[in-house]
């Protein structure tokens, strides 16, 4: 009994830390609709700054310690304010989620920054003065410091409540969470409001990181460790709901504390399983409300048009150039070109889902990775030839998308995106843990192409055929009635429903098709690399795909193609030339985002429009 009580307290202590980070993320999202990927970076910066400040300030005094913690959070808040004013403010008018891309650039930069300033080694901070020891509870030791954490969570929750309900600022924030255009119409200075919210969010993240100092070594992967968990909590609680975030944090904290007692092997997946169940039952989280109509932003997408004669000529020229590539390129260039083609199809499949279908996915890697595994496993266990494996892979991916999609399409917006993430993580955990079948984290190796496709040239042509064909097929479907149906569902659910379209069903089919095409890319990838590892299903791979689509421009059909080619080529070539490739890539992404808020292709289209070559649009 006493043991269970202590374990309960352990869960509460973890919950408090999670809550601090998640509440900031939730507030930022609620008001500005920014999916702040850099929130984990703020958390990490808070921890590092606290490490430095606590050492500078304290000779082990209580004031020095807590002063350092608060100062660290304040410093992070300043960083947050600067980020908002210098970067994000420029791109509020961009299509939704583009801010995610900008914050992804920040994540990369902060990772290198932390390494440069604080060095590669983990840094263990001091224990909190006066709270070094443990308290005896029913014969069990419980750290004094954890009591402070347990209290800190509800205290911050209370302060936030007072802030939101007892100040004019708070009232405005709550109003803006409901309807930000309305608040703007009331004559409130919106940019000031956004800056202050972002600053508060960053402060909370920084504080969350800083109070970890006595509990764990500060290290340079803290950002990615916390960010997914924070998102999970925000979504389980309901976007924009601080109380919801608190409840969700307690649920996740307790779940981890007790879960490891009952299912020690399930540590990888427990949170995601719970999120999936909660979202299926409550599509807007525990305390969330259906997302309000998002007005403004980038405005409606332009109608799609078949290629103009110039476009047609250019496409033919590109095709000729691609066909002729083996004559001028070496083997390495061809392999990279194959990889670019594969990623292009992967991005195109995601774009089909999120651009055409309006269903944003944070877990598209599931279908890419399951395509890889489908191909590799059939080779491994049935010894089938490569071509058969290239059929089996997409089939596996398609079936997975059929199953996961059935649940996902019933949700919308960020909730849908997070449910796709949950399923991707579940798939990841299954592949990771089922070592006897999938090889676990050691993956499957020896998946090389059949002799006829083994040469880089042959494999390149095969990739060109399948990926090029896949992209053409996706494009064709987009222009076909089914593509129009998906866009109809995206543009106006109300209208689609009232002209006889079964939304859930068609979105489900669209989801499945997108998974299938991602599976083609994934199968090829397995043979390109000769091996498959769980990281093909990881969040990082999903984020890569998202970055490619957003970079190219989500509101254009050519966007994913240009985005994938740009991103992949940049990634491969920069990492060949410098160790600081993350900074370089991050800076390039941010510059691209600010320069081309509609994506690269969106920008080009706008220019053409302005010069009057594309007629009639907003």
């Amino acid at each position: 009994m006493s043991f269970l009580f202590i374990q309960f307290l352990n869960g509460l202590a973890s919950a408090s830390s999670l809550f601090l980070v998640a509440s900031g993320l939730s507030i930022i999202f609620g008001v500005s609709r920014i999916v702040n990927f850099a929130h984990g970076s703020f958390y990490m910066l808070g921890a590092y700054m606290a490490f430095t400040l606590v050492h500078k300030l304290s000779g082990g005094t209580i004031f020095g310690f807590w002063g350092g913690v608060v100062l660290a959070a304040a410093a992070v808040a300043v960083v947050g304010a600067l980020v908002e004013m210098i970067l994000l403010r420029r791109i509020y008018q961009a299509p939704e989620l583009l801010q995610l891309l900008a914050t992804f650039g920040l994540v990369l930069i902060v990772q290198d920054l932390v390494l440069t300033i604080w060095g590669p080694e983990d840094l263990l901070g001091p224990r909190a003065p006066g709270l070094r020891g443990a308290i005896d509870i029913f014969g069990q030791s419980f750290p004094q410091y954890d009591f402070v954490l347990i209290i800190l969570g509800p205290v911050v929750l209370g302060l936030l409540w007072l802030l939101f309900h007892r100040t004019r600022w708070g009232t405005l924030i709550r109003a803006a969470t409901q309807d930000r255009e309305m608040v703007a119409a009331l004559g409130v200075n919106q940019s000031w409001l956004f800056t202050s919210v972002f600053t508060l969010g960053a402060f909370l993240a920084g504080l969350g990181g800083a109070v970890q100092l006595p509990r764990e070594a500060v290290n340079h992967v803290m950002d990615l460790q916390i960010i997914t968990e924070a998102f999970v909590i925000v979504v389980i609680g309901g976007l924009g709901s601080v109380l919801g975030a608190f409840l969700a944090a307690v649920i996740i904290g307790e779940l981890n504390a007790f879960g490891i007692l009952i299912f020690p092997q399930l540590t990888l997946v427990l949170t995601f399983l719970v999120m999936a169940v909660i979202l299926v039952v409550r599509p807007w989280g525990l305390l969330g409300k259906p997302e309000g109509v998002v007005r403004g932003g980038a405005g409606a997408e332009r109608p799609i048009k078949p290629l103009s004669p110039t476009g047609r000529n250019a496409t033919v020229a590109l095709l000729v150039a691609l066909l002729a590539l083996p004559m001028i390129s070496g083997n390495y260039g061809l392999s990279v070109a194959s990889e670019v083609l594969i990623y292009t199809l992967f991005a195109a499949s995601l774009h089909f889902m999120m651009g055409t279908g309006g269903m944003v996915s944070f877990g598209h890697a599931a279908y890419f990775g399951l395509g890889s595994y489908g191909a590799a496993l059939t080779v491994k266990y049935f010894g089938v030839p490569m071509l058969a494996a290239l059929v089996a892979g997409p089939a596996v991916a398609g079936i997975a998308a059929l199953v996961f999609g059935w649940f996902c399409v019933r949700l919308s917006g960020v909730y849908l995106a997070m449910l796709t993430l949950a399923f991707a993580q579940i798939a990841y955990a299954v592949v990771f843990q089922w070592s006897s079948f999938t090889g676990g984290d050691n993956g499957l190796i020896g998946i090389w192409p059949a002799p006829w496709a083994a040469s880089p040239t042959a494999f390149y042509y095969l990739s060109l055929l399948l990926c090029g064909g896949g992209i053409v097929a996706v494009r064709r479907i987009t222009f076909a009635p089914f593509g129009y149906t998906l866009r109809a569902c995206r543009d106006s659910a109300l209208r689609a429903d009232s002209i006889g379209i079964d939304l859930a069903r068609h979105r489900w089919y669209g989801f499945t098709l997108a998974g299938f095409f991602a599976g083609i890319a994934g199968s090829l990838y397995a043979f390109l690399k000769g091996s498959v590892f769980p990281d093909t299903i990881s969040i990082a791979t999903s984020v890569d795909a998202l970055v490619m689509v957003l970079l190219g421009g989500v509101q254009t059909l050519a966007g994913p193609i240009v985005g994938a080619a740009t991103y992949k080529i940049l990634h491969v070539s920069i990492s060949s030339y410098t160790d600081q490739w993350r900074t370089a890539l991050g800076v390039i992404i941010i510059v691209l985002v600010v320069a081309f808020p509609m994506g690269i292709v969106g920008f080009i289209q706008n220019r053409l429009l302005r010069s009057g070559r594309v007629e009639d649009a907003a």
Binding site: G11, R132, P264, L307
Partner: protein
């Protein structure tokens, strides 16, 4: 729509011209490719890079190999096997390297090893610990320097069986390395001590340990001893929570890797006392060959070596010696030279076994202690890898026939 093609063509053209530029290189150097997870695991890989750079400088200062200088082309894999294969491909196809070496993570090691097998190029794996690399998934092109999980666990078992403890619990990161380490440790222990009971196991996700809850769960099982495989940030969190909550009081702990400066130094005044660990007590090793290495390393980098530094240094030396012995960069000759290759390392002479291409580099087994708020190893000894190699019968059974 039409401009996109332009963009793409430009991008591709850039790639291709870049692709061609690398081909022109001097013929009087021997190019060697190196890949590691520099950005994702800097704490280990940066000292490792120092290690191989030191060795490279020494080799070239001494006139190179067979009259030719060595040139290492190094790439970061970002912790992703797919990127590692791309890098390996670049090194082999574009840079025309003769040998590949490096890698830290087991799965990346396996990916590059399989690539080496496919492309018929020698790969000397520096760090990957998985036994599969030399056993089930071994191939004739791959050599490995560091003792694998089996060997490391076996070294610790030798000390662990001497403990009186009869009830044991384990805590390990939830992936292959942790799983295999626990499995081997349990098997070897139970074989020598059938009276041992295994009372609990904890599998925190790597990098995401819930310190308090894990410690409490272990405490509940009341084991007399604990076998720990966590490392890095997880280990630090685990130890601090364990210290606060008294988990390690009157309890023996056997812990993999904990004595390595990479993991021991960050613990500072939290370093637990009396744990049986594997590690690298660099400041206490008083052999001539280690002194020379230490002096050269400090002179060059103004820092002390980590175990990674030794691994990098030894790997570079092994590659160089392999080429010298082969008298050529022909792959088959290199393999022939590599089997049974002997080098003098800072830890003493080591050799590569012909049957599984595993080196006999050993490790230091000792106990942890703390002095002036810093962790250190005491009562340590060097465990020669040759004494802990997996039995030849096992290798013959598991390793695919080439």
């Amino acid at each position: 729509m039409d401009r996109r093609t332009l963009l793409k063509t430009i991008a591709l053209a850039t790639l291709l011209t870049g692709g061609q530029a690398g081909l022109a290189s001097a013929a009087d150097t021997i190019k060697i490719g190196e890949i590691n997870s520099y950005t994702s695991l800097p704490a280990f890989t940066l000292p490792y890079r120092n290690g191989w750079q030191l060795a490279l400088d020494e080799i070239n200062a001494a006139g190179g190999i067979n009259g030719r200088k060595l040139e290492v082309v190094s790439r970061d894999d970002g912790g992703k096997p797919g990127d590692a294969v791309t890098a390996a491909n670049e090194l082999v196809s574009r840079e025309n390297v003769s040998v590949l070496f490096g890698t830290f993570f087991s799965h990346i090691g396996l990916a590059v090893s399989d690539f080496a097998n496919q492309r018929k190029i020698v790969f000397v794996a520096a760090e990957p610990l998985t036994d599969a690399l030399t056993m089930e998934k071994g191939n004739r092109y791959t050599f490995r320097l560091r003792p694998g999980t089996y060997m490391q666990a076996a070294m610790l078992v030798e000390e662990a069986v001497k403990l009186p403890a009869k009830t044991w619990a384990t805590v390990a990161p939830n992936y292959e390395y942790g799983q295999v380490a626990v499995k081997v440790f349990k098997e070897l222990m139970s074989a020598k001590r059938p009276d041992i009971k295994w009372v609990d196991e904890q599998w925190p996700a790597m990098g995401k340990i819930d310190g308090g809850a894990t410690v409490q769960a272990l405490a509940r099982a009341e084991p007399e001893a604990i076998f720990n495989v966590t490392f890095g940030a997880d280990l630090t969190k685990f130890i601090r929570e364990g210290n606060t909550r008294g988990l390690f009081k009157n309890r023996a702990v056997v812990s993999l890797l904990t004595g390595e400066p990479e993991y021991l130094d960050p613990l500072g005044d939290e370093t637990p006392k009396g744990w049986i660990v594997s590690g690298y007590p660099w400041e206490q090793i008083k052999t001539a060959e280690h002194d020379a290495f230490l002096k050269a390393y400090r002179a060059k980098f103004n820092d002390y070596p980590r175990l990674g530094s030794v691994v990098g240094y030894n790997t570079m030396k092994s590659v160089a010696e392999m080429i010298r012995k082969a008298g050529s960069t022909d792959t088959d000759k290199l393999i022939a030279a590599g089997e049974g290759l002997k080098i003098d390392s800072p830890l003493g002479p080591i050799s590569f076994r012909a049957e599984d291409h595993q080196s006999t580099m050993g490790g230091y087994i000792g106990k942890t202690d703390m002095k002036d708020g810093k962790g250190m190893m005491v009562d340590w000894r060097y465990a020669n890898g040759a004494d802990y190699l997996p039995p030849s019968s096992e290798v013959a059974k598991l390793r695919p026939k080439n």
